[in-house]
């Protein structure tokens, strides 16, 4: 469920997430947001704070008052600590400030949905790679892979955005927090290491470099 009044952005998110095999619905204002969230249950709600007709925060509060357990990811242009704290206290699962990378959004959505699957499985499977998100380990052909924390994060990020081109900026921001200034060549070294480890474990080379733009994790 995408609650975002900026139609162009809402459309981008929907297109990207549909490409990740999610089913998306959209709401552009407060009233339709409240209406839809009351009627249906969603795995994850992307919630903008500033909506025409009301605050996204009230949508969240109403939701939690009705004991709904939908995952909520707040997307806000404000990037204010207070909003973030208020959002998380009111029961949001995560907070992402605009402008964000769609790949980052997709990874966060995947994480929320994973956490929401009660007693469910914390294992993500991609061909012969399986990632245990609870133990934070990865197995290739059932053999454990020795990964550094950042390599694990990178692998998870790739799998969460499989078959998509991810920009170097998005990777840098995901792994090191901020958007990086200047030369991003160090990412190449990092990816090379991960690729080597995967190949040594007997896996196919899934990481494809897309000239100039970034990388793609794909089996096709």
């Amino acid at each position: 469920m995408i609650i975002e009044d900026e139609r162009a952005l809402s459309e981008s998110i929907a297109t990207y997430l549909k490409g990740q095999d999610y089913i998306c619905e959209t709401a552009f204002d407060f009233n339709s947001a409240v209406e839809k969230t009351e009627l249906y249950d969603y795995d994850c709600i992307l919630l903008d704070i500033t909506l025409p007709g009301g605050s996204g925060m009230s949508v969240l509060k109403t939701l939690r008052e009705n004991n709904k357990t939908d995952g909520v990811l707040i997307i806000s242009a404000k990037n204010s600590i207070d909003d973030k704290v208020e959002g998380l206290v009111s029961g949001a699962d995560d907070y992402l400030s605009k402008p964000f990378h769609l790949s980052e959004l997709s990874a966060r959505v995947a994480a929320i949905i994973r956490r929401k699957q009660f007693g469910g499985n914390s294992i993500i499977q991609f061909n012969n790679i399986s990632i245990d998100t609870r133990a934070k380990t990865a197995l290739v052909n059932s053999l454990p892979l020795e990964l550094t924390k950042k390599e694990y994060d990178l692998l998870l990020y790739f799998v969460s955005n499989k078959r998509r081109v991810i920009s170097k900026n998005a990777i840098a921001e995901h792994l090191w927090g901020d958007e990086m200034e200047g030369n991003l060549d160090f990412i190449y070294t990092h990816i090379k290491n991960l690729r080597k480890k995967l190949q040594e474990a007997g896996d196919a080379d899934y990481i494809k470099s897309v000239y100039g733009m970034g990388y793609k994790f794909t089996d096709s």
Binding site: A8, L9, Y16, D82, K98, E181, G212
Partner: protein
């Protein structure tokens, strides 16, 4: 030099001069008047002698009083010129030389010519004048003492509203948004000054807050189009069959977009710090934060083959906002990585109250004093925004930490003194 001191210097000089000149004039006028009076007395005496002679046709007895002496001397000729003049006398009683006035005139008595000399002592006059001089000097001295006391106590008190206002002006700080509050005064000049200062500070604060909210609003408004552009570009990137040129264009757009978004974030952050939106504080261990961010940027450091050395000899615990401390430290560390040379060095030292981060690099072309200013970058084409260190400075200012920069032996060192 203080206004008061300079004013006093003129004031006292003029007072002393006028008093001395006045005293001098007084002295001469008085002397003239008194001698004139003496001469008159002599004339009276002359008349008395003449009247006596005319009545009795013989000379009176030469009578000497304390300060008057009449002497008759026989004279050969009749034409004795009458004159009045000053003489030096010897006072036998006091055994000292004194001044006197003497009148000489001729007189006929019993067919004989006499010269009469009447002398009056000037002693009393001199005494009077001396008293006056002493009095004048006394007044001068008294005046000086009074002026000194006035300056010392009264004037300082009079100027108190001024020094209060000045103190307020010195403490005036745009970021703490409190207008200048001048004290009450009933002196017109100070009232006017206070009114002007208050009006100025209010308008400055108003303009400043308008500017701040403009920056904040503009930054917020920019976020949404940036988000849309970023998302559309990412969708575009998923397309197949791009030519190499097209891919290069996409990459370039993406880089610039990311730069714009970084710029916007940094400006927003600066505004937020200005607006004191990071209020929650907690005890932050600086050394731990440094270690955390060194770990985070480990890959960046090793990618540039930078040799890292850290010396932690003390523990700095400061009460500050955690996010701010993280921004402060991570900015300093990324700065040291970014502006480093390949295979360079980074040295980090933490002691009881100071954090120093040094990195190898070429000397600055620009003025080191401007290093912490916004948009100051050493190289024109640098990818850096030039906001990192100004954010560091802003945070440091917020908590009254001292920042300093030094370049020595090919090492740039930025230090933060926490206490």
């Amino acid at each position: 030099m203080k206004l008061l001191a300079r004013y006093n210097r003129f004031n006292i000089a003029a007072t002393v001069l006028v008093l001395l000149l006045g005293g001098l004039c007084y002295y001469f006028i008085l002397r003239y008047v008194l001698i004139h009076q003496l001469d008159k007395d002599l004339k009276v005496e002359e008349q008395e002698v003449k009247d006596y002679v005319r009545l009795n046709n013989h000379l009176p007895n030469a009578a000497n009083y304390k300060d008057q002496e009449v002497i008759f001397e026989p004279a050969s000729n009749t034409a004795i010129k009458r004159k009045v003049f000053s003489v030096n006398l010897y006072d036998t009683a006091e055994e000292e030389q004194i001044q006197g006035r003497r009148l000489i005139f001729g007189i006929q008595s019993g067919g004989k010519n006499y010269t009469v000399s009447v002398t009056k002592s000037q002693q009393e006059t001199e005494d009077l004048i001396r008293l006056i001089v002493i009095l004048t000097l006394g007044i001068v001295l008294l005046l000086l003492i009074v002026l000194f006391i006035i300056n010392r106590f009264v004037l300082n008190k009079l100027w108190l509203p001024f020094s209060n206002t000045l103190q307020q002006l010195k403490q005036f700080n745009l970021s703490n948004t409190t207008a200048i509050n001048t004290g009450e005064t009933n002196i017109n000049e100070f009232k006017e000054l206070n009114a002007a200062v208050t009006a100025m500070s209010n308008s400055v604060l108003k303009d400043y807050s308008a500017l701040k909210s403009f920056t904040e609003n503009a930054s917020h408004e920019i976020q949404t189009p940036l988000a849309v552009m970023k998302s559309k570009l990412e969708l575009l990137m998923q397309g197949e069959n791009f030519s190499e040129t097209q891919m290069r264009y996409i990459q370039q757009i993406q880089e610039e977009l990311s730069r714009l978004s970084r710029l916007n974030q940094s400006l927003l952050l600066l505004t937020k710090i200005d607006n004191q939106q990071f209020k929650d504080t907690e005890q932050v261990n600086i050394a731990n934060t440094v270690i955390k961010y060194l770990d985070n940027y480990e890959e960046l450091i090793s990618a540039k083959e930078i040799t890292l050395s850290k010396t932690i000899s003390g523990e700095i615990i400061v009460l500050m906002n955690k996010t701010m401390s993280e921004i402060l430290i991570s900015n300093l560390i990324t700065n040291a990585i970014k502006h480093n040379t390949a295979k360079g060095t980074i040295a980090i030292t933490v002691d009881e109250n100071r954090l120093t981060i040094s990195n190898s690099g070429t000397a600055l072309n620009s003025n080191p004093d401007e290093l912490f200013e916004r948009f100051k970058k050493d190289k024109v084409n640098s990818e850096s925004l030039g906001l990192g260190l100004s954010i560091v400075k802003k945070i440091a200012e917020q908590y009254h930490f001292k920042t300093s920069y030094r370049y020595q032996d090919g090492l740039h060192s930025v230090s933060i003194q926490f206490k």
